[in-house]
Each structure stands twice: as structure tokens, then as C-alpha cells.
């Protein structure tokens, strides 16, 4: 098989698996699991084969002309370079892990067949985005991911939170997709082709007429998909979906798509200084804000969601300083350890019977109950906090190094301001990241209080997946010496200055949170709180559904908790209240968009009910009244009728005569 054929099979297999799963899921339940897992495994293996064959060498391009459009042609094009093949490997591996994990996690879920098919479809769409060499085809995968995320986030549609979250995810990402679509058209109109290669050539030759406009329009879609400020608000709410979905969508695939697209189209962005500055500011605000918010969240998955937003901020920051190698490197390591963190969080939620960190802090012995999750998550959290020698350290160092490089003005065409912005925000975020990672670990695994209920040992499928992901989370950082061959960029190895600074910040954050945790332990022990749903015999998803549905009643808010013993509260001080609600951005959006929309809807309803229907009712009642009046004339007296008849005839005759004589 040629590389091209293999590459075509990679997105095709999960797609066929999804179709087959949707068709046979109801009738043949026995085939559902193989149909879910095997295509994902095959796609992952083939993605590895493609990566091996491509080998970081020259990019492989293949294209078939789709229907002639008359103007800008649309090609079914493949573009396999180092970025694409490695991202595809990441997607394939994470999707395989998620499918395996789901077989155990959603064991008895009656909607598992459709769930598995949608996950397959989602994987297929992401692989299409990764491999596509044509923006229109990329957009197809992009939108399919949008609709799949809507269905998957709303998987627990019995709960109000899940319904609201799925709608919000869909609307917010679509809100970004409209400018994205326009941006694609503008880009294609400028470059005369939808092929990414053609666009990049045009950008390199200065052939783009409006690079700033194109870049900013694309940026809106990227912000929506990759959950960057100000369109990030859907991601924390999307944690109302099942945990494996969070791992797939919100760590490795969907949110990565935005970053990946910018990485592919980076020359378009570097052609416009304004776009780079906007990107840098966006990344900085996203990073710092999400890290502060993560420090205040009570829901373990929301902590991870905000951390995802922050890590994506690192990636966009790397892109803002023009270093896509660093961005994609961080994308790869982050995909590995964040998937591990989410899947581990699912295990914790199941074992603890709650998703609230406050409740976990008052539960003892959680680490002993789930040793696999404990050890793997510890490593993943250390990677997240960028402590050497774990993978996150190397990729984050690459980003900070690139920022420092740009800040010193050594990168051509990159404004120094963008470099400084990213560097400063990155260092601050490194401190905060270490703090919330430490807080999560301390509250989840170092809780004191009554022992957690015994849910037995977790299934092999779950633990095996955790250990599989453990390997890249631990060691993917070593790829820093190998990846430049694939990416064709400069070295990604850590530099001394940023390493010391970044690690120092991270250690500072860890120390601070540990001190705060020690101080607040007494309070934690004194104030009992929390609600725990223990379902030792049920599948893990049951605990999750219950805990999502009850979090707001038990703790007063979907995001935070009124826990005085929370080290995050101690660290943030007065900021905590704002950080817990995501800095009130939802309130602002509600005032800006939701309420005007509701008011417009009410106005339309009023106009319809009271104005339009008045005419309709009038059209009915006026003839009714007229009929009543005419019925009065129906006296039954023939002479009356005749009199009226003759009177009318006289009038008509006179009128006719007058007209005829021209009077």
C-alpha cells in the first residue's frame, strides 16, 4: 500500500465504523463493541504506519478534483507533512484509548451504540481535518466535529446541565464558525484556491490582499473551536458530558483542531503583525484567566477543563510568536497527559462518588482504592505543572523559549511585544498551573476523613488505558531532540534561562499551594460538607450522571463550592469569588446576547400573537358581523325583497342613463 492509500484509510475506517455502528447498533448489540474499538485501533495503527512511511521527510501531496465549481476549485486533497502525521497518531491513539475506556465506563448504558458511533464519527472528522490539504474539505470535518460534540456533550440529556451545555457548546462554536467560513472564502478569493499549499505559497509571495482581515476572521473560528478567550465559555460547561468524551473532545481532538489549523496556516498569520498581536493578547488573557479560574473550581473536571483552555493558550501563544513546532509539540504532549488526566478523573469520580474536590478532601484513602489512577495521574499532573523531566516540561519550555526568542527580537517578522506578552503570561501561568495541579492532587488524593466506599478494582480496560497513556505523559518530552527533524524547524530542546524561570515558577506554585493546604487542613477537618453518591455495583457513568445533576443543589453553584478549607480560596483571596464563575463572562454574555435575543423573541411573539393574529381574527369576525347584519334583512317578507330589488334597479338604471348621457 502506498502512503496515500494508507492515509485515506485512516479517516475512512472510523467513518465506516460509525455508519455500521449506527445501522446495526440496535439490532446486533454484540457487534457494537468490536465496531467501536476495532476501527479506532486500525486507524491508530495505520496512522503510525503513515507516520513511519512519511518519516518526517518531504510532504506527501495527493489530490482529486471534486465537482468543478466554476470558480475556485475544491479538491479532495491530502497533505501529509510531519505535523499532520504526528497529530494523526495522537488522535488515533487517544481515540483508541477513549473507545476502550468507554466500553467499561459506559458498560450498561442503553445509548452506548449511538455514543460509540458518534465517537467514531468524531475521530474520523478530526483525522480528516488533520490530513486534509484543502480548506473546504477541512471545513467539512470541522463542522462534523461541531455537531458530534453537540450530541456527545448532551449524552446525559436527562440532566438539565448536559442539555444546556450541549446547546451552549454548539451555539458558541457556531458563532465562531461563521466568521471562519467567511475567512476561508476571503482567503480563497485572495489566493485563488482552497488548497492550503496554494494559499501558503500566495502568503509567502505576498499574494494575499488582506492578510489581517483573513487572519482575524479565521481567528474567530479558531477561538470558538479551541476555546480561546472570549469564546471559551462553552468548554467548562461541556464537562457535563461523559468523562471519556471530555478526554476525546476537549483534550486531544476538537480543541486541538483550532490550534492545528492556525499552525497549518501560520504564514497567513505571520503576514499580518496585527493578527499576531491579537493572537498574543488572546493567548495571554486566556492563559492567565483560565489558570485563575481553574484554581477556584470545585468540580474536578472543570479544573481540568480550565487547564485545557490554559494549555491551549500556550499553544496559541507559541503560534503568536511564529513557532508552530513548539505549538504542535505542546499539542502532542498535552493531548497525551490531558487525556490521561480526564480518564483518571473519571475513575476518581467513580471511586469517590462525587466530582467535588471539597468532598474528596474530606474522604480518606482514595489513593489506596485506585492505585493505578493515583500513580498515573500524579505523573500527568507533574507533566501539567511542567516539572522536569516529564513531557509537559519540554513542550512548555519550547513555547517559552520561542517566546523569549521573539521577545529579544531574534525572530524575523514577529513583533517583540507579542513575544514579551506571551513570555510574561506564560511564566505567570506556569506558577498558577503548578498551583492548581497541586491543589487538585492534594485535595483528591490527600483527603482526610471517612474512608471512600469500596467500588472494587476498576476494570482492566480502564487501568490498561491509563498505563498506556502514562508512557507518553512520562516520556514524550524526549521527542524534543527528535521532533525538529519532522517539523523542519529549529531546535525544541530547553534553553537554560527559560528552564530555570519556568521551573522556578512551577516550584513556587507547588510550594505555595502546599503551604496553603497545610494551613487550611484544620478548617477542612472542622467543616464537614459534601454529598457522595456511592454506587458500588453500577457502571461508572451512573455516579457521574448523579453527581453532575446534584452538584448545584449540594454546593450552591455548578462551578465552585462554599468550602472555607479550600487552599485555592486562601491563595486567591478576594479574587476567588470572581474566578469561580469564570470572571462573570457568562453573565456578560447573558446580558449582551441572551437577553436581547429573548427580548427579540418576545417581541416577535407579541407581534405575531397580538398584531398579526388580530388581522387574521378580524378577517374572520368582520364577515361574521356582516353576515349577522345581512341576516337581519332576511325578513321572509317577499314585498320587502321586491321593494329593495326595484329600488336597486332604479338606482342602477339612473346611473346607467347618467353614464350613457355623459352627465
Amino acid at each position: 500500500m502506498t502512503t496515500t492509500t494508507t492515509a485515506v484509510l485512516v479517516p475512512l475506517l472510523p467513518f465506516l465504523g460509525a455508519v455500521a455502528g449506527l445501522l446495526t447498533g440496535r439490532r446486533a448489540p454484540g457487534f457494537v463493541r468490536p465496531l467501536a474499538v476495532l476501527p479506532a485501533v486500525a486507524a491508530a495503527v495505520l496512522a503510525v504506519v503513515v507516520a513511519w512511511q512519511q518519516g518526517g521527510g518531504k510532504a506527501v501531496d495527493a489530490a482529486t478534483r471534486l465537482t468543478p465549481t466554476g470558480s475556485v476549485p475544491i479538491d479532495l486533497a491530502l497533505h501529509l507533512d510531519g505535523f499532520a502525521v504526528l497529530a494523526a497518531v495522537l488522535v488515533g491513539v487517544v481515540a483508541t484509548c477513549v473507545q476502550l475506556y468507554s466500553t467499561a465506563y459506559l458498560r450498561n448504558d442503553p445509548r452506548y451504540p449511538s455514543y460509540a458511533a458518534l465517537v467514531s464519527l468524531f475521530t474520523s472528522a478530526m483525522l480528516l481535518v488533520v490530513y486534509s490539504g484543502d480548506l473546504m474539505v477541512l471545513l467539512v470535518g470541522w463542522e462534523v466535529m461541531g455537531i458530534c460534540s453537540y450530541f456527545l456533550v448532551g449524552h446525559y440529556w436527562e440532566t438539565k446541565e448536559a442539555r444546556a451545555a450541549s446547546l451552549k457548546a454548539f451555539l458558541v462554536t457556531k458563532f465562531g464558525d461563521v466568521p471562519f467560513l467567511i475567512g476561508i472564502f476571503a482567503l480563497a478569493a485572495d489566493a485563488g484556491t482552497f488548497r492550503i499549499n496554494g494559499i501558503l505559497t500566495a502568503a509567502a509571495n505576498g499574494g494575499l490582499a488582506h492578510p489581517t482581515l483573513d487572519a482575524l476572521l479565521l481567528l474567530a473560528g479558531v477561538a470558538g473551536k479551541s476555546a480561546q478567550f472570549p469564546l471559551h465559555t462553552w468548554l467548562p460547561d461541556a464537562m457535563a458530558g461523559p468523562t471519556p468524551v471530555s478526554a476525546l473532545i476537549h483534550a486531544a481532538t476538537m480543541v486541538a483542531a483550532g490550534v492545528y489549523v492556525v499552525a497549518r496556516l501560520l504564514p497567513v498569520f505571520t503576514a499580518s503583525t496585527a493578527a499576531l498581536v491579537v493572537l498574543a493578547v488572546m493567548a495571554a488573557v486566556t492563559m492567565v484567566g483560565s489558570a485563575l479560574a481553574a484554581l477556584a473550581q470545585d468540580d474536578i473536571k472543570r479544573v481540568l477543563a480550565y487547564s485545557t483552555i490554559g494549555q491551549l493558550g500556550y499553544m496559541t501563544g507559541a503560534l503568536a510568536v511564529g513557532d508552530r513546532s513548539a505549538a504542535v509539540f505542546h499539542l502532542l504532549t498535552h493531548g497525551a497527559f490531558k487525556a490521561l488526566l480526564f480518564l483518571g478523573a473519571g475513575v476518581i469520580i467513580h471511586a469517590a462518588g462525587t466530582n467535588s474536590l471539597s468532598a474528596m478532601a474530606r474522604t480518606g484513602g482514595l489513593a489506596r482504592r485506585i492505585p493505578d489512577a493515583y500513580w498515573t495521574m500524579t505523573v500527568a499532573l507533574l507533566a501539567l505543572a511542567a516539572i522536569p523531566p516529564f513531557s509537559g516540561f519540554f513542550s512548555k519550555e519550547a513555547v517559552l523559549g520561542a517566546a523569549e526568542h521573539a521577545a529579544r527580537g531574534e525572530a524575523s517578522g514577529i513583533p517583540g511585544a507579542a513575544g514579551w506578552t506571551v513570555l510574561a503570561a506564560g511564566l505567570l501561568t506556569a506558577l498558577l498551573t503548578a498551583a492548581y495541579a497541586g491543589r487538585l492532587w492534594l485535595m483528591a488524593f490527600r483527603g482526610t476523613g471517612p474512608e471512600a466506599a469500596d467500588h472494587g478494582r476498576e476494570p482492566v480496560a480502564i487501568n490498561a488505558v491509563l498505563w498506556v497513556l502514562f508512557v507518553p505523559a512520562l516520556a514524550l518530552g524526549l521527542a524534543a531532540w527528535k521532533l525538529p527533524d519532522w517539523f523542519g524547524g529549529h531546535a525544541l530542546t530547553p534553553t537554560l534561562t527559560t528552564s530555570v524561570l519556568g521551573t522556578g515558577c512551577a516550584l513556587l506554585g507547588l510550594v505555595a499551594v502546599h503551604a496553603a493546604w497545610r494551613r487550611s487542613r484544620a478548617v477542612t477537618a472542622a467543616v464537614p460538607m459534601g454529598a457522595v453518591a456511592a454506587d458500588p455495583d453500577a457502571a461508572p457513568y451512573v455516579s457521574e450522571t448523579e453527581t453532575i445533576a446534584t452538584h448545584e443543589q449540594a454546593y450552591g453553584s455548578i462551578a465552585g463550592a462554599q468550602d472555607p478549607g479550600d487552599p485555592g480560596r486562601l491563595l486567591l483571596g478576594p479574587l476567588h469569588r470572581h474566578a469561580a464563575t469564570g470572571f462573570h463572562l457568562d453573565v456578560v454574555y447573558s446580558a449582551l446576547f441572551v437577553r436581547p435575543t429573548r427580548a427579540a423573541a418576545r417581541l416577535a411573539q407579541f407581534l405575531d400573537r397580538e398584531v398579526v393574529e388580530t388581522y387574521v381574527r378580524g378577517a374572520a369576525s368582520a364577515p361574521g358581523l356582516l353576515g349577522a347584519a345581512v341576516r337581519r334583512a332576511q325578513t321572509g317578507n317577499v314585498q320587502t325583497y321586491l321593494g329593495a330589488l326595484f329600488a336597486g334597479s332604479v338606482v342602477l338604471a339612473v346611473a346607467a342613463v347618467l353614464v350613457a348621457t355623459g352627465a
Partner: protein, 194 residues
């Protein structure tokens, strides 16, 4: 005084000849009789005044040299129709003498309509035929010979159709006025059943 001799007179507007004077006088009588017919409160008198009006019209036909029509008018209208009406009055037990409720409630509406119609018609007719004269000289136009000629030469088919119509009316009138024929048949049928 026949139409032929009267027709020999010379016509002239506002210089009335004998025919015109006679026509006007008889016309006034006819109109007056007709008015009394529709306004009198004695029902039988109405029928009798109708005789006067119809007779006056017969005279007008004569003055217009239509002899045959005049005699048919006398024969059929004055002779048979009025007699039929009188029989009808009697059979419906119409009161002899003044009946106060001879006119219905919408008399004034009827008067309005009639006066309006009269005004409109008279205005139109006068406006249209102000300067038109009938030439009554020459051969009379409605002698029995002439009428017979045209009736049986040109109007035979309608004439025969009319006879069928009269027959149908005759049969219809008999069927309608036979007393309770259907009821009697129904009674006899019931009798047979019992």
C-alpha cells in the same frame, strides 16, 4: 270614431288634435282608475276599478289603430281575467266592504320606490321621445285582417307553442285547485291497509 278616421288628422305638438285630446282624456281616466285600484280599501271595488282601467286601455289601443288588440283586451282581460279575480276574491272569503288592513306596513317604502321609478322612467321617456310623432295616417295597422295575416304567416310557431302553454296552465290550475287529492289518496291507501 275609428282609428282610421282619427288618423287622418294632422299631428302637432301643443296643438292637440282630436285623437290626442281623446287619448289624453282616456289616459287620465285609465290612470285614475288604476290608482283607485291599488289604493281602495274595498277589495271588490278594486276589481271593478280594474275593469275601468283595462277598458280604458282598450280604448287607447283603438286610438292607436290596433283594433284587434283592443277587442282581445276587452274579451280576455275585462271578460275573463277580472271575472277570475272576482272568483278568487270570493273563494278566499275576502271581506265585503272596507278592510282597514288592505295595505301592508311598507306602504311608504313602496310609495317611495314607485315614485322614484316613475320619475326616472318619465324623465327618460320624455327626454328620449320629446320630438317624436306617431304617423297615424295611411292604412290602419292593427285591423283584424292585418293581424291575422302576420300572425298566421310569420308567428305560427310561437302561436302554437302558446297554445301548449295555455293547456299546461289549464291542467296545472286544475291539479292545484282539486281539493286535497293527495290526502284523499293517502286516506284510501290507509283504509285498504287496515
Amino acid at each position: 270614431m275609428t282609428g282610421h278616421t282619427l288618423a287622418a288628422q294632422a299631428p302637432g305638438f301643443l296643438s292637440p288634435s282630436g285623437v290626442e285630446v281623446a287619448f289624453l282624456l282616456v289616459g287620465i281616466v285609465t290612470l285614475g282608475a288604476a290608482l283607485i285600484t291599488v289604493t281602495t280599501r274595498q277589495l271588490v271595488h278594486a276589481a271593478l276599478w280594474l275593469v275601468v282601467a283595462l277598458g280604458g286601455l282598450a280604448v287607447e289601443y283603438l286610438l292607436l289603430t290596433a283594433e284587434f288588440i283592443a277587442w282581445v283586451q276587452v274579451l280576455i282581460y275585462v271578460g275573463s281575467v277580472v271575472v277570475l279575480l272576482l272568483f278568487g276574491l270570493m273563494l278566499t272569503k275576502a271581506p265585503i266592504g272596507r278592510s282597514p288592513d288592505a295595505d301592508s306596513g311598507n306602504r311608504w317604502a313602496a310609495l317611495t320606490v314607485a315614485v322614484a321609478a316613475a320619475a326616472a322612467l318619465v324623465w327618460v321617456v320624455v327626454d328620449a321621445f320629446r320630438t317624436t310623432w306617431i304617423d297615424l295616417r295611411g292604412s290602419p295597422q292593427g285591423t283584424t285582417k292585418v293581424t291575422g295575416d302576420i300572425l298566421f304567416r310569420h308567428w305560427v310557431l310561437p302561436f302554437e307553442a302558446l297554445s301548449v302553454l295555455l293547456l299546461a296552465a289549464l291542467v296545472g290550475a286544475i291539479v292545484l285547485s282539486r281539493k286535497g287529492q293527495g290526502e284523499r289518496r293517502g286516506e284510501s291507501g290507509e283504509g285498504e291497509q287496515h
